[in-house]
Symmetry: C2
Subunit: 299 residues, 2 copies
């Protein structure tokens, strides 16, 4: 256990460098007629971030015995979706956040209209890039497009964001909270892992199922840790005002389970995620390391 | 010329009925976990509208000798993109419109956050549907996904909207105005025609080029007529306050060319569009009829 966080950091750092380079390449390949829009898109996507989702995509490819570079374009597509969702979530009509990763959010650094458009354009980028993923069959690329569209749309991420907005100020059961998170963040984390796995073309169904279960447990663990960090973390480290969920009266795991209960739940979810990786042997080391990293991370 | 508007209406009505039924089927096939979100999406997409873009998609399939039903899913995908763009364009941070097709806009009928999310989810729908278009090859479906993503993204529609926002209050040349419209509305009209044509799988390049040129001229003609209607139309018929472009100090064709100059330009564009259809014979009748209809329409 001592070694896994550092393996995770090594893999995350390598993955981050690969993904950042590829995102720059992809963004500059189709410039916008509006310089301001291009700048806002680059600001949204290239402003740092841990790149957990792309790393999961690359790590899932490795778990399936594939070269991780085969998953690079799908990883960037997932990150473009994630970036667009953050830009729109931060808007005044949504979460109204002025700060993200220690920098002004896009509608503050630019303006609201540009933030809406940059998000819209990034979503289109994701599907354009994905349709042109090299080294896999047309069939696999189409499956990836459909998977990402479903995971990011009304039955997935956007649906979860809608439930989240409707939940403010309400008392939720733990089941309702999980339903919200499974949509809002879980669906895209599952898609990150599944798209990476699908670079093994075709990916055997039983292996895809196990990796999906890994991602499903990990997605919830990620959210529990986020809730804990919101209470226990430091604004300078987490990059947003600490306690902002509480201030907004948003339901969280600690508010429903208590801090100790939330920590126990986190460990259960981590164990469940790791158990799915047993049959993958050494190829799944990066997926194990990322899971452990998510639980020990401080932001 | 007497007959074409009525042929256009016949084709438009038939196309509208087919597209409305298919949109209802597609929307209900993947319900959102948030009822409010589902309702906002349906309100955005099923609230009427002339369905010009889907009709062009079906008519282009017919021009290529295909059964128009082969183009039904691509037609709905194009309409989902168009609907999402209207919802986002109407937002307070963008054009701030309260009325669209005589009804309250989505952020008025629901709320701003729901309007942003409904638009986001509709964009995802478009790519999900397109990836699953029946009766064409995987290769053709992938090409459609890439085409629609480029046409609707930063190099197309969204880029045009960004230029439009930057142009308010500025004096544009006719060339700059055309560049803006080629992106903002032209790219999606071209994609509508091209996606329909691509149901002839594979679509011969020279025929695709001619239909692209038809769509390019038609897209500009559509915009010139829109600008003329904004000056000469009646609020009750056009569904938005007449003179709203002038009130906003937006550059228009009549403001640059005068009303007579704009009308002459409209005729030139129409002739240019129709000339591209000569080699397609009777199969192109619906495309001809739609072009004529666009020029004589009153809203």
């Amino acid at each position: 256990m001592q070694e896994t966080p550092s393996l995770a950091l090594t893999f995350l750092e390598r993955s981050q460098a690969l993904v950042d380079d590829e995102l720059k390449r992809l963004l500059s390949a189709s410039p916008a007629p509006s310089v301001r829009l291009s700048e806002a898109m680059a600001y949204s996507v290239l402003g740092g971030g841990k790149r957990i989702r792309p790393a999961l995509c690359l790590a899932a490819a490795q778990a399936m015995g594939q070269d991780i570079t085969k998953a690079l374009v799908p990883a960037c597509a997932v990150e473009a979706i994630h970036a667009y969702s953050l830009v729109h979530d931060d808007l005044p009509a949504m979460d109204d956040d002025n700060l993200r990763r220690g920098r002004p959010t896009v509608h503050i650094a630019f303006d609201e209209a540009t933030a809406i458009l940059a998000g819209d354009a990034l979503q289109a980028c994701a599907f354009n890039w994905l349709a042109q993923t090299p080294s896999i069959s047309d069939r696999a690329r189409l499956s990836m497009v459909a998977e990402l569209a479903v995971a990011s749309g009304q039955a997935g991420m956007v649906g979860g964001q809608a439930i989240d907005l409707e939940s403010v100020g309400k008392t939720l059961t733990i089941e309702s909270l999980e339903t919200m998170h499974r949509h809002k963040t879980g669906a895209l984390i599952e898609a990150s892992v599944r798209l990476g796995a699908m670079t093994a073309d075709p990916a055997p169904g039983d292996q895809l199922d196990r990796l999906t279960d890994y991602a499903s447990a990990l997605g919830l663990a990620f959210q529990v840790q986020d809730d804990l960090l919101d209470i226990e973390g430091d604004t300078n480290v987490i990059g947003k005002p600490q306690g902002s969920d509480l201030a907004r009266d948003k339901p969280t795991y600690p508010s429903l389970l208590g801090i100790d209960g939330a920590k126990a739940h986190l460990q259960t979810l981590l164990d469940r995620a790791l158990a799915q990786l047993d049959s993958f042997g050494d190829n799944a080391e990066p997926l194990r390391a990322i899971a452990n990293y998510i639980v020990v991370r401080s932001h």
